[in-house]
């Protein structure tokens, strides 16, 4: 595909963002020459920057602080990068003390739309209620969590949700030439509902593909943020010494009950997988639960894999989960997962585009997603050598509308600017992406300074969204 760079006549207002995102409808949105779209990317990036800056006080401050007025080169984006700390910066005490308007003021400062600070939150008793009240007034708030138990909270717009779903449909067409037609048994390794992107837009993909009488979720009870939050608060109370042994025991029991329930849910889903073994099905989930599901299917008697037209949508790191080294081989051999029918994705929850993996193992960037490779500190843009550059991955999602889409990731990776072995000419990321915190070493850098976290022995490990 040769993307045309349309420019309006002088003085005409051109929507560069739309020009760029319209490639989502192309036959192969990942086959383009970066040099052909760079100019359009920068024009669109500047347009996005101007719009967001006018609406987001946090971005406006940052831009003033670092003296960036115009995006004319990729380098200009570096000082404007947020980290995931931005969307985790709310004080826990606002939630514990139910200061919903203050939390709303915080959300407004980090969103392109305003109004959360002024809403009436009468009767709201927890964070889930706060999110629901916002939803009633047209604000879609997503919550996500790392393994630390501290959730990111951010707002997306209707346009973002639509773009997300278009992205998935485009990726499936690209990967396997599949059009969803609500015909397949679907195994979704997540709860049916919740204030999380997975349950919202992934849920649409699930319904797209799923035959209504054969769509399975891990749980029918909604995923509650307050539950995660309660665990984080208990951690705090343990640190402060205000949690009693009884409180800790109750939390242990709750965690054990939850784990037992998920084991049971996994067992039931494993049976369903075996029941539907002869139909072309659809699986969606991250690697750790996918591995558990494969085990459960095997236990329920699955041999010889599944229908050959079965599709898998996978992705996400292991997030600290410990799996056997050959977990992928095991999943492949039990479920019969084939690379050609597996849409493996890399992306950041806070940003819309997911990058699908090609046959050569690279994750491909669509034109509306600009990848930057920075030094470990996230401050310096690194220059490619021989078409490749490795370091801290950062992204600018030009399509992102509800909040500022320039984000530094916690991941180390390699960006390739030369054509991929799969034949596509666009930029791609090599598959060896790893979280900085999982890189080895550093144990013997001993210092007498510590944090309170050292003093909290976890009962609550692995509780993530």
């Amino acid at each position: 595909m040769q993307p045309p760079l349309r420019r309006g006549p002088t003085g005409e207002c051109v929507n560069f963002i739309e020009q760029l995102t319209s490639f989502v409808g192309a036959d192969d949105p990942y086959d383009y020459r970066l040099s052909d779209v760079r100019e359009l990317q920068l024009a669109a990036a500047h347009q996005r920057f101007e719009r967001a800056r006018g609406a987001m006080p946090v971005l406006d401050r940052r831009a003033s602080d670092c003296g960036i007025e115009k995006i004319t080169q990729v380098r200009d984006l570096v000082p404007l990068m947020f980290s995931d700390a931005t969307y985790k910066s709310y004080p826990d005490s606002f939630i514990a003390q139910r200061k919903w308007n203050a939390l709303g003021a915080w959300l407004d400062a980090l969103s392109t739309s305003a109004g959360a600070a002024q809403l009436n939150y009468d009767g709201v008793t927890d964070i889930d209620g706060w999110i629901a009240r916002l939803a009633d007034h047209g604000h879609t708030v997503y919550v996500s969590s790392g393994t630390s138990g501290r959730c990111s909270i951010f707002q997306v717009s209707q346009a973002d949700r639509e773009m997300d779903v278009r992205g998935f449909r485009s990726a499936w067409r690209w990967k396997a030439g599949v059009q969803p037609d609500r015909s397949r048994p679907v195994f979704a390794l997540m709860p049916r509902s919740g204030a999380h992107r997975m349950m919202d837009t992934f849920g649409i993909v699930v319904r797209d593909f799923g035959r209504p009488d054969a769509t399975y979720f891990l749980s029918d009870t909604p995923l509650l943020v307050s539950e995660v939050n309660r665990m984080a608060r208990l951690s705090k109370d343990i640190a402060a010494g205000t949690a009693t042994p009884g409180d800790i025991h109750a939390a242990e029991l709750a965690v054990a009950a939850k784990q037992a329930a998920s084991r049971e849910a996994m067992r039931r889903m494993g049976e369903a997988v075996t029941r539907h073994r002869d139909e072309p099905s659809f699986f969606v989930g991250t690697w750790a639960p996918m591995f558990a599901l494969a085990q459960a299917a095997k236990t329920s008697g699955l041999v010889g894999g599944l229908h050959p037209d079965t599709l898998f949508q996978t992705g996400g790191g292991l997030k600290g989960a410990v799996l056997p080294n050959d977990y992928r081989e095991q999943i492949e051999s039990i479920l019969g997962l084939k690379p050609a029918r597996n849409l493996s994705l890399y992306g950041m929850t806070e940003l819309t585009p997911f990058m699908p993996q090609c046959a050569a193992g690279h994750y491909h960037l669509p034109p509306w997603h600009v990848a930057l490779v920075l030094d470990k500190s996230g401050e310096q843009l690194l220059a490619p050598e021989d078409g490749r550059v490795s370091g801290r991955l950062a992204f600018f999602d030009v399509s992102m509308d509800g909040h500022w889409g320039a984000l530094v990731s916690g991941d180390h990776g390699t960006l390739q600017l030369t054509p991929c072995a799969c034949g596509r000419r666009g930029p791609s990321l090599l598959h060896d992406i790893v979280r900085y915190r999982d890189l080895p070493g550093g144990d013997d850098k001993v210092s007498c300074a510590g944090t309170i976290d050292t003093y909290v022995r976890g009962v609550i490990g692995g509780e993530t969204l």
Binding site: S89, P91, A239, K445, G450, T451
Partner: protein, 470 residues
């Protein structure tokens, strides 16, 4: 000042080991630290580093007087202007240190003071009691036959901390005073200070039993191939570990009958400032200066560095204090730099989010001159890189609830108000109460006082009794 990513030294660094007091050079093993610095060490000869229990350590029967003489002479020779080992250590450390050379040099300038024999003699007598380290001392127990007790020299492995030369000198001094056998595991963030001190001691008296009682070596912390072989009661009595949660979690695997862990826990520290600070503008500025002194020790990288400060006053007053503190943080001090590396991005981004809540105020800069965040409750992030969280309180007593088992030092202003809160603080888990501005004390004047809630020498010795000895 060196760059954030460390400075590339022209040549690859060679780190010597010390085996029973003798320096061993070699480049058989290549190590790479997490930031990518390359360094070479001799091959680790575990058989040579371990002394069998069948023979007593070289210094077990040396009178304390002679050890104090050696330490005193060592202190005199630890003069940066005349000691080539120390000068070399300073060059190597400051090449890869994030602190300015001036601050690192200052820490080396005072290192000799910690070897002052009068203070060390006091420390032994205060912690162990008179005579008991030099031989069997009678103890008289009511209605019981007389007994004798000896503080017997131990066999120690030290997992050293690397955030400042005092960590090295304290380990060596304590090890020498016990008369025991000492194996120092060098930290990757200071591979040089301990060996420089040991080589200085060897220059004075190469065959001195105390010199021969010390070995020092580098292996990667937590390296099972090394630790599972030597962390055994047949070779050592105690593992003396500083900080480092990961290090301690590794070490716990080996602790068992006969092999004990002596921990100096990783700690946090704070300040409490009474309303007296607001009596006039000059006092406020001076108090903020004292508080900055406690924050900025080793650029806030120590356990005694203040991170949260509780100030008695209303929000308006406290904001005046915050502004003064931000000014004072930007001042060069003996133990800290006026301007350091930039605030880490996650703290900057968190603070930028908090700025718009309507309940937080931000003072200072992200450029390394110092940052102050005022909030109603302690912030959820861990303040580092000259970041201070200031919380207004109605009374100092209200601040006690924020102290915990993780709190080491509490600096209080004015001095007279310490008595008002010290029992409550101790009850919460605090180990050290000082006058604001004196948090550094432990490293320089602390000998003979408790450290992390216990008397370290007493804990390091093996206490042995001879009962019905007469």
């Amino acid at each position: 000042m060196s760059s954030l990513t460390g400075t590339v030294v022209g040549k690859v660094i060679k780190v010597p080991h010390i085996v029973h007091g003798k320096a061993v050079f070699g480049d058989a093993v290549e190590h790479r630290s997490r930031v990518g610095d390359l360094f070479l060490t001799p091959k680790l000869d575990l058989d040579a580093l371990v002394r069998p229990r069948s023979e007593p350590g070289p210094a077990f029967e040396v009178p304390l007087r002679e050890i104090l003489d050696l330490l005193g002479e060592t202190g005199r020779r630890l003069n940066l202007d005349t000691n080539p080992h120390l000068a070399e250590a300073l060059d190597l450390i400051s090449a890869s240190s994030r602190h300015s050379r001036r601050v690192v040099e200052n820490t080396y300038r005072v290192i000799g003071q910690t070897f002052e024999p009068g203070a060390l003699g006091y420390q032994v007598e205060r912690e162990l009691g008179p005579g008991v380290i030099d031989g069997w001392v009678p103890v008289y127990k009511p209605n019981a036959p007389s007994c004798q007790v000896r503080a017997f020299p131990p066999r120690l492995v030290h997992i050293m901390a690397g955030n400042g030369p005092p960590a090295a000198s304290i380990s060596i001094i304590r090890g020498a005073l016990t008369k025991g056998i000492n194996l120092l595991k060098l930290p990757s963030n200071d591979l040089f200070t301990a060996t420089a001190i040991l080589r200085t001691m060897a220059d004075i008296a190469p065959d001195h039993p105390t010199v021969r009682s010390f070995s020092a070596a580098y292996w990667r912390g937590g390296d099972e191939a090394v630790e599972r072989l030597i962390y055994r009661p047949q070779y050592f009595d105690k593992l003396v570990a500083w900080g480092g949660e990961a290090t301690i979690r590794h070490a716990l695997k080996y602790v068992g009958p006969g092999f004990e862990l002596v921990q100096f826990d990783p700690k946090v520290s704070m300040s409490m400032i009474g309303r007296e600070a607001f009596c006039d503008a000059e006092t406020l500025e001076r108090v903020a200066g004292l508080a900055a002194e406690d924050v900025n020790m080793m650029n806030q990288e120590g356990c005694a560095s203040s991170r949260h400060q509780f100030v008695e006053g209303d929000v308006k007053e406290v904001d005046r204090y915050c502004a003064a503190l931000a000014r004072q943080l930007a001042v060069d001090r003996f133990w800290g730099d006026g301007k350091i590396w930039k605030t880490p991005a996650d703290i900057r981004d968190t603070v930028e989010g908090l700025r718009f809540t309507g309940t937080h105020a931000v003072f200072g800069h992200y450029d390394g001159r110092g940052l102050v965040v005022r909030s109603n409750e302690p912030v959820d992030f861990h303040p580092i890189a000259k970041t201070v969280n200031v919380i207004p309180v109605a009374s100092l007593r209200d601040a006690v609830r924020y102290a915990s088992v993780a709190t080491q030092t509490v600096g209080i202003y004015p001095r007279e108000r310490k008595a008002e809160v010290r029992d409550a603080l101790a009850n919460a888990g605090v180990q050290r109460v000082v006058t604001l501005g004196s948090a550094i004390g432990l490293a320089t004047t602390g000998q003979g006082l408790p450290h992390d809630g216990f008397l370290p020498l007493q804990r390091l010795m093996r206490w042995v009794s001879d009962e019905e000895s007469e």
